[in-house]
């Protein structure tokens, strides 16, 4: 038993404050926007030059000059702004975003992240990933706890090419919520159906426990 991607996104969304400025990585992290708790409205930033964009328009009503970083059509909310790429990455690199939520191939207990390259084969592509891991006040990762063939994605040291060094502070997985404190994994929440030993066995570095573990209860979404 594990959380679906939507449930991981839901859990990550609970930690986003009202009025926070948020960048969601392309792909799976984009789902986080769907699960904002009622009464809270984050302002979403896309690195191609929009603040405060909203949902996708209905099919057929796309404006292809109004897209997000994943090149998907979006809409604007009142109070939006357009700006060029240098200003956009000034927001990123300058520490103006409250949260960036990204996907991962591997996260190390040191906070190192690998999420852009699976190695030297094929065409490498980095996009904004290496910029996003620097600057946001909080860099969080959402990910399955293990790879498709069951290997830990939370590891002692990354084996894949790094996106950034010591940048991740919280990981939301399909099994747990884990903070990175002083270059160690600290377990905060886990699925109640899973024992600590079972979770540890699926994790590539030691899980510390400080002051109790909360049950990770996520609704069906």
């Amino acid at each position: 038993m594990k959380l679906t991607n939507a449930q991981i996104a839901w859990r990550a969304a609970q930690d986003i404050e009202d009025g926070a400025y948020v960048n969601l990585g392309i792909g799976f992290p984009e789902m986080v926007a769907q699960f904002q708790p009622s009464g809270r409205a984050a302002i979403f930033h896309t690195e191609n030059g929009i603040l405060n964009f909203g949902e996708a328009p209905p099919a057929g009503e796309e404006d292809w000059d109004l897209i997000n970083a994943g090149k998907k059509a979006v809409t604007l909310k009142p109070g939006a702004a357009f700006f060029h790429h240098a200003d956009s990455f000034a927001m990123v690199r300058g520490g103006h975003l409250d949260v960036a939520i990204l996907g991962a191939y591997e996260v190390a207990e040191t906070g190192d992240l690998a999420n852009w390259s699976t190695g030297p084969k094929g065409v490498p592509a980095v996009g904004g990933a290496m910029d996003l891991v620097h600057g946001a006040k909080r860099v969080a990762v959402i990910t399955d706890h293990v790879t498709k063939d069951g290997k830990p994605k939370l590891v002692k040291r990354c084996s894949l090419p790094l996106t950034g060094v010591g940048c991740v502070t919280r990981v939301y997985t399909s099994l747990a919520v884990i903070d990175i404190v002083n270059a160690r994994f600290v377990l905060r929440e886990k699925l109640p159906t899973l024992s600590l030993d079972e979770l540890q066995a699926l994790t590539g570095a030691e899980l510390l426990v400080e002051g109790g573990i909360i049950n990770l209860n996520v609704p069906e979404v």
Partner: protein
């Protein structure tokens, strides 16, 4: 999301003793006179905030605005490019008496250092000031056969700026050449406080026309009938 605050006193409450404060404006254009005077009012009433480092292109004019802050003894250091004006007494007297520190920065370097602070660029190279006394002690490097000076970012605890329109997200427009340093300072300060001529509904500023996106702004106070520093100077007004 509502960044609007009720009054000037609340707007400037964020400035603490010893803070570094960027103040928008080039001469009188863009000078947030009401925010500055609210800060002076607070200092007169409470003795705080003092020992400020103020970053502005100039160092005050006459007996109003930044000059009045200096007169009041609130300013320990000025970072500016041109500490002269039509009536530079306030700064000149304190400077010649050794009562205020001056960091003189070429104007373009000042602008770029502030932008760098806002953009997360800790240092950059510029040809400006190479071979002059203003480059003394700074690292130099050669790129493609030309020599450059390494300059560091400038950041601030608070920016005080003046805008034309604002919405409750903090999106801003400016008025003519009153824009100058303000969009950069909004980026480079931990807390940016804005006095706006008018506050409009979100969406009333066309997203294409936003000059400072709200992400760079923390507090907005409406000052519909703002004074223009140059006009006050010409009227002989003193904030005393």
């Amino acid at each position: 999301m509502d960044k609007i605050v009720a009054n000037l006193a609340e707007a400037v409450a964020v400035v603490e003793d010893g803070a570094t404060v960027m103040i928008g404006g080039f001469g009188g254009a863009g000078a947030p006179i009401e925010l500055i005077h609210a800060l002076i009012d607070r200092f007169r009433a409470t003795g705080s905030p003092g020992r400020l480092t103020v970053i502005n292109n100039n160092a005050g004019n006459g007996r109003i605005g930044i000059a009045a802050m200096i007169d009041e003894g609130m300013v320990a250091k000025m970072v500016c490019s041109f500490p002269r004006s039509s009536d530079p007494r306030a700064f000149t007297e304190k400077y010649l008496a050794g009562e205020i520190e001056l960091e003189l920065v070429p104007q373009g370097t000042l602008a770029e250092r502030i932008r760098a602070g806002g953009a997360g660029i800790p240092a950059f190279y510029t040809p400006t000031s190479y071979g002059t006394e203003l480059a003394a002690g700074k690292p130099v490097a050669e790129f493609e056969g030309r020599s450059y000076v390494q300059e560091r970012w400038l950041k601030a605890d608070v920016a005080l700026i003046k805008a034309e329109l604002a919405d409750n997200h903090g999106n801003l427009t400016y008025r003519k050449a009153a824009r100058n340093f303000s969009p950069l300072m909004a980026m480079a300060a931990r807390t940016t406080v804005v006095q706006a001529h008018a506050i409009v509904e979100p969406g009333d500023i066309d997203p294409e026309h936003v000059v400072t996106p709200g992400i760079f702004v923390d507090h907005v106070v409406k000052v519909a009938e703002a004074a223009q520093e140059e006009a006050l100077i010409r009227q002989g007004v003193e904030y005393a």
